[in-house]
Symmetry: C2
Subunit: 171 residues, 2 copies
Amino acid sequence: MKYGIAIFPSKKVQDEANSYRKRYDPHYALIPPHITVKEPFETDEQVLESTIIPELKRIAKSTTSFSIKISKVSSFSPVTNTIYLKVDPSDEIVKLNQNLHEGIIPDNKEYSFVPHITIAQKLSDEEFSDVYGSLSMDSFDIVDKVDRFQLLYQLENGAWSVYETFRFGEQ
Amino acid sequence: MKYGIAIFPSKKVQDEANSYRKRYDPHYALIPPHITVKEPFETDEQVLESTIIPELKRIAKSTTSFSIKISKVSSFSPVTNTIYLKVDPSDEIVKLNQNLHEGIIPDNKEYSFVPHITIAQKLSDEEFSDVYGSLSMDSFDIVDKVDRFQLLYQLENGAWSVYETFRFGEQ
């Protein structure tokens, strides 16, 4: 099965991100707004239960709640036409991402970690110019608390379902 | 905020339910296939954290994994045109539903508990007759393991996001 690990921001931030995603993100219906902290990886449920989940519990237990800050949108252009709310790469979130790619957890990292909440993707070049031109003028003043991450798996229709929640500071 | 509690069946069962939901359920994009064990209720996050979550942990800890069986579809007609995979109302799932409406957890139960996975709803009368006529001829032989429930909250767009997972037998 294909698994991934994400942080879901608070309802307020999800609602704000969805106001853009509804119009500009074809993945809008597949998963709520999120920060991917581990890209999708393949494993079977037995390996997951016996080795990965105990490690995720350990990581969650040793992680302390932290704040994230979002002050602007950015884009992966020219690689892709994805537009996202840029999450300041604090030490805490970078460390969490690093922990999720070490030891017995598969290191499937292909790119350097750019914490973000996607709000638009798969736009035509013209749409991208319009939307990014407009959104990049906006400033955001979002501060949100992160106190858990979620392990998800992908269904055949592309949607993601939560397998388990890992709260920081808990075993 | 509006919260609810659901059981998500295994990927296999979710995929099967989605094959119907995609065509017949306008809530398809709002939440993966699920068994509602507590209907939506309003509370604030502070009450949730201080009183409800500790109780949900206690309930999860005292619950043992159980199997569910699905052998046919059924419908809430004539009350609504909802069609669902009928989950046999085993003692275990009935007890879990009961536990989630007792003590300090708000008792928001309006109907008797009919465990089910919705696969079609808000159909016109004509669509309903066609779809139910066809599906009610099918027999299902689904057995699935339940070992957790999930607390969800609803976003402004109607979609549900997972707040926390509660595994049975764990604190």
